[in-house]
Amino acid sequence: MQSPLENTVNALETLGQRAILFFNRIGRSALFLFRIFQSLPFALFRPWLIFQQLYSVGVLTIVIILVAGAFVGMVLGLQGYNILVRFNSESSLGTMVGLTLVRELGPVVTALLFAGRAGSALTAELGLMKTTDQFSAMEMMAVDPFKRVIAPRFLAGFISMPLLAAIFSAVGIYGGYFVGVALLGVDDGAFWAQMQKSVDFHEDFMNGVWKSITFGFVATWIALFEGYDTVPTSEGVGRATTQSVVHASLTVLALNFILTALTLETT
């Protein structure tokens, strides 16, 4: 039986330890990122390594992006029409679908899907390599795992994200077009013309691109770090994989809010 005072002290101690572990983790991940930057020039000289990763990170994620983009776009068309028709503004459907995808859904949903599919795969891969001593073996062979394994994966993720987000938005817009124009009777010309008038290259398109670049950077960084930092057991790898998806997703959503707030202010 512990007194309330002892309980409080214990709780504080645990909290303190957790906080220290948390900051420790953040510090380690920052050092990790720094080592990646140091290895980037080397990786750039071995494009074949980057291509291999672009395949497993980018190409293999395309299918899920295409399907998700199509469905999200179609739902936007449906819901958008539903809402706009109440104000007799269904001809603005193009604007709504275009802006929503390019500014928000494109970068954000793609980043979440990326974290789930490509990110978790990266974490599992690195975790497995750590558990089977492959990193140690590389170091023993005087090969720097950062240059050979980690930096190429980072570059691949960083390059893939904006491309995937663009594909998502493009497919989504056509999905919205299909539902709005072909199925619900919105005027074809109005759809595209209104969209083009309201989607600004700098404010909307470029914003979306910057967002997806940032998300790619962060999601790939987290996925790689969680894999590299795992406890080298099978439960450790499993845990790290789920953690990586959760952390990456939450960070992307938080960043999204911050980026959106910043850019809207400067309008």
Partner: protein, 264 residues
């Protein structure tokens, strides 16, 4: 008889646990030295200290007369190229096939052309008896085969020494026999120095020239296999003969039996 590796006053801790406490150890050139001890006694840690993957708290590790923990990055690099290490799991790179795995160090550290690389790789694979498996992927290999491929990879740059981390773990008698033969012939034919970390007493005794037994951060006993047969250390005798009770007790510390059962 000169020493390839000399360890003096080695001290190492993990957290609060003392792994090594003032340990002195010599590895003779050209011989097979075994480091044995119960699980968790820090045998793998010792290998990592020798290869400078870990840094000791105190003491020195001299390899070929050089303090490896004071070497600069590129010198350490060079030193590592001359050390081969065989991990428990083989640690083959899973996305490369057998041939490419063995060729890896050659491609990384030499500018040999493809023809030379092919000769060398096939020769090393032949030495371990796996030349025919050159196109298989690591996932298709059995445990024993993985280790033999890893061995081929470890010798491809003609190192001066090889460290074996628990090479005999969980192998069937035939694979065991193959590995034992390979380690011995490699060591003698290539003039290597071998350090074997293991707790398989029978297998190790067959080929080791000198044995160290480590436990609780200290060297409990050392000597040639023949000398250790007649050792006076109770502890070493229990370990080497696999006796269930001795200085390492059978019973985990517990209250008196009668008291525990009948709650007196």
């Amino acid at each position: 008889m000169d020493n390839l590796v000399e360890i003096r006053n080695l001290g190492f801790r993990r957290g609060r646990r003392i792994i090594f406490d003032n340990v002195d150890l010599d590895i003779q050139r050209g011989k097979i030295t075994a480091i044995m001890g119960p699980s968790g006694s820090g045998k793998t840690t010792l290998l990592k200290l020798i290869s400078a993957q870990l840094t000791p708290e105190s003491g020195t590790v001299l390899v070929e007369g050089q303090n490896i923990h004071q070497l600069g990055q590129s010198e350490l690099f060079e030193m590592r190229k001359r050390m081969g290490m065989l991990f428990q799991t083989g640690a083959l790179l899973t996305d490369l096939n057998v041939f490419e795995n063995v060729a890896y160090p050659l491609r990384e550290h030499t500018s040999l052309d493809d023809r030379m690389i092919r000769y060398l790789v096939l020769m090393k694979l032949h030495a371990v008896g796996l030349r025919g498996a050159a196109n298989l992927m690591p996932a298709e290999l059995s445990g024993g085969m993985s280790r033999r491929v890893a061995l081929a990879r470890a010798i491809v740059l003609d190192p001066m020494m090889i460290m074996y981390d628990e090479p005999f773990g969980g192998q069937d008698p035939i694979s065991m026999g193959v590995l034992i033969k390979l380690i011995k012939t490699m060591n003698d034919n290539l003039g290597l120095t071998s350090i074997i970390v293991s707790h398989d007493v029978a297998e190790v005794s067959m080929i080791a020239d000198y044995i160290y037994i480590i436990s609780n951060g200290n060297i409990m006993d050392q000597g040639t296999p023949a000398a250790l047969e007649k050792t006076s250390s109770e502890w070493a005798r229990q370990f080497l003969k696999g006796l269930p009770d001795g200085p390492v007790h059978f019973h985990y510390p517990a209250p008196e039996y009668q008291n525990d059962l009948f709650g007196i």
